[in-house]
Subunit: 358 residues, 2 copies
C-alpha cells in the first residue's frame, strides 16, 4: 500500500492506494466521527462491493442509499434522496457519509455531506479509474443543472480517500478508457515524462496490468494533491486541472448528460485545447499528433459531436466557472507537460477549433 | 447611521443600521464583486422596495428573481429557481447576489450564493424585524426539508448587512411581533438589563417608535455579532442563540411550514425552555412569569399547538442539530440573562413541558 497526503493544514488527509484495501477496516475507522455512517453507492457498484464495505463497518450504526447510475442523475433531486434517507434514519450532525462508487456518487455524496445540517464529514471509496485519479481527491463536490455542468456545489474535503485497485477488475472497458483521459491530462499539463511513460505503457494499462495501473494512479494523485495543496479554491493554478473541461462540459451538457461519459468529453476537449494551442503557434504539431494518438490508443473519442455547432459551444462555454469579467479563459498548452490559463487567445482561431467536428 | 462589525478575520463585515439607508448606494457598491448583480426578493417585498434597490445599482448588470412569500417555499425547488435565473442570465463566478426581504429570502439567497459555482459573494438587505435582528447576521444559510427545518445549508457569511429601519413601516403587525420574539431572546440568554429595557419599552416598540426600534435592533445585532465572532460554526457558545428553537422548529415542522411564523414558534419554544428550566429549579417562577408576560405583550403565542403530542415533539426534536452521540441537548436558562447548553435535564420533566399544551 502507498500513502499520499493532500496537504491542507488542519484539513489535510491521506490517500491510500493498494490492492485489497477494502478488507482493512482500520483504514476507515479512525476517520469516522460519531456512530452513524451513511453509505452512498449506486445500483451498479452496490451489488459488487456494498456488503464488503458494510462488513468493514461492524460496530457502527449504518444505513445505505443506492442511487441510479449515470451522469443524468447527478442533480438536486437525487441529492434530495440522500437528505431524505439521512432524516428518515434520524442521522445527526455527528454522522459520517461514505461515497462508494464513481465520480457521480462521489460528487453528490460530497455535496450532501457539505450541506447536511450545514456540514458533516465524508470519506471517499472511489471504484472507477476516473474517480480514483481525479474526482475523489481535492474536495470539489456538486451536482449539474440542466443548463450547466457542476454549477451547484461546494468545496468540501473528504477525511480520507481509499483506493482499492482491485475494484478496477469489475470496471467495463468504456469506463476504464474514460479514466485514462484524466490520467493523460496530468501528463499534458504538468509532466512530459509521465506522458512519455503513458505512451510506452498504454497497452499494459489497457490490458489492466496491476502494476502499471497502480503507478498511473499514484502519479496522477500525486500531481493532483500537489496542485490542490497550492490552490485549494481554484483562484489560480488549480484551474490547470480543467484542461479540456470547458469544451468537455459543453459537450456533456449539449449532448445530454450521460450520453458522453465525462472522460470521453474531456478527451475530445483536450484535443481541442491542443489544437487551439497549436493554431496559436504555442504547441508543435507533433505534440498535437502524439496527444491524438495516445487518446485514441486509450479508446477515447477525439472529434466533437456533429450535432453541436459553434454557436451552441460558445453559449454553453459562456457560463464556464473560469469566466472573469465576462471574458472566457481557457486552459491551453505552451508545451507538452506545460499547461497555461489564458484569456489571450484569438476568437477566429477558437472558431476554427469549435468547427473541428463539422 | 450606526455601524457594527462582525469580527471574523478576513471574513469580517459591517452591519449598517439607520433610516433611509436604501437611498445610499455607496453603502452597497464597495461590497459588490464584478459587474453582475442578482437581486432576490419575494412577491410581498418586491413591489415595495425592489425599484429603490435597483436604482442603487445603476452601472451594474442586474437581474431579479421574485420568490413566492412564505416559509413553505423555503425548499430545494425554490432554491433551484435562483440557480436557473443565474444561468439563464449567464451569471459567472464573479457575480454577486443580494437578498432583499425577510428571513426566508435571506436564508435561501445565502445558500444559493454558497452553492452557485461553488460559492459567490452575497449581501443582505433585511426588511423584516426578524431578519434585521437575527437571520441576516451570522452566515447561517439554508432551506428546509419536509422532515426537518434548516436541515440543508451552509455557513456562508455576507459581505455586508444593510438595515434600513424605514422598511419596518410596511411590516404587518404579526411579522413585527415575530421579530420581537428574537429580540426578547437576546435578553433572556445574554442580557438581563436589556430584558428589563424591553419590559419598559414594549409599548413603544409595538407602536413602532423609531428610536426604540433602532435601539432594540442595534443591541440585538451587537449581541449576535459578539457571539458569532466567538464561535462562527457553532461548536459551542453560538448554540445559545437557539433558545426556544428546538421546540420551535418542531412546532414549525409539525404544524406545516408557514402555519406558525418562525418567531411565533420560537416565542412558544422559549416559554417551554423557561418552563423546563424552572422545573429543574434553575430559574425562578417569577422569571418564567415575566417571560410569558413580555411575550404576550409583544403579541406572541406561548402555548404549544394542541394538535401536537409529546411523541411527535420527541420525534421531531431527535434530529435537532444539537444532538451529539444520540443525546439531545437543549438551550435552557440558569437565570434571567444567562443561557446554558445542556443535555443534563430530566426526561420526566421534559415530558411535563411537552404536555403544556394539552
Amino acid at each position: 500500500m502507498n500513502t499520499l497526503t493532500v496537504d491542507l493544514g488542519t484539513r489535510s488527509y491521506p490517500i491510500y492506494i493498494g490492492q485489497a484495501l477494502l478488507g482493512k477496516p482500520e483504514l476507515l475507522e479512525k476517520y469516522i466521527s460519531g456512530q452513524q455512517v451513511m453509505l452512498v453507492s449506486n445500483e451498479t457498484v452496490a451489488p459488487l462491493y456494498l456488503q464488503t464495505v458494510l462488513d468493514m463497518l461492524a460496530g457502527f450504526e449504518t444505513a445505505t442509499v443506492i442511487l441510479p447510475d449515470g451522469e443524468q442523475f447527478k442533480n438536486l433531486d437525487t441529492l434530495n434522496t440522500i437528505f431524505s434517507a439521512l432524516l428518515e434514519n434520524r442521522f445527526n450532525r455527528d454522522c459520517t457519509l461514505i461515497a462508494l462508487g464513481g465520480g457521480v456518487v462521489g460528487d453528490i455524496t460530497g455535496f450532501a455531506a457539505a450541506s447536511y445540517q450545514r456540514g458533516v464529514p465524508f470519506l471517499q471509496i472511489p471504484t472507477t479509474l476516473l474517480a480514483q485519479v481525479d474526482s475523489s481527491v481535492g474536495g470539489k463536490t456538486g451536482v449539474n443543472h440542466p443548463q450547466g455542468k457542476n454549477m451547484i456545489g461546494a468545496f468540501h474535503q473528504p477525511r480520507c480517500v481509499l483506493i482499492d485497485t482491485n475494484t478496477l477488475d469489475t470496471l467495463d472497458d468504456r469506463q476504464l478508457a474514460a479514466g485514462l483521459a484524466e490520467v493523460i491530462k496530468y501528463g499534458l499539463i504538468h509532466d512530459a515524462d509521465f506522458f512519455a511513460w503513458l505512451e510506452t505503457n498504454m497497452d499494459a494499462l489497457k490490458a489492466r496490468d496491476k502494476q502499471a495501473l497502480g503507478y498511473a494512479i499514484e502519479r496522477s494523485c500525486a500531481i493532483k494533491a500537489e496542485i490542490v495543496a497550492a490552490d485549494e479554491r481554484e483562484s489560480g493554478k488549480r484551474a490547470l486541472l480543467n484542461l479540456g473541461h470547458t469544451f468537455g462540459h459543453a459537450i456533456e451538457t449539449g449532448t445530454g448528460y450521460g450520453t458522453w461519459l465525462h472522460g470521453e468529453a474531456v478527451a475530445t476537449g483536450m484535443l481541442m485545447a491542443a489544437d487551439l494551442s497549436a493554431r496559436h503557434g504555442w504547441l508543435q504539431a507533433e505534440a498535437v499528433q502524439r496527444t491524438e494518438q495516445l487518446l485514441q490508443r486509450a479508446g477515447l473519442p477525439t472529434t466533437p459531436p456533429e450535432s453541436m455547432n459553434e454557436e451552441q459551444f460558445r453559449q454553453l462555454m459562456s457560463i464556464d466557472k473560469k469566466v472573469i469579467g465576462g471574458n472566457l479563459r481557457l486552459v491551453l498548452l505552451k508545451n507538452m507537460g506545460e499547461g497555461i490559463i489564458t484569456g489571450d487567445f484569438r476568437q477566429e482561431l477558437l472558431s476554427e477549433t469549435l468547427n473541428m467536428g463539422s
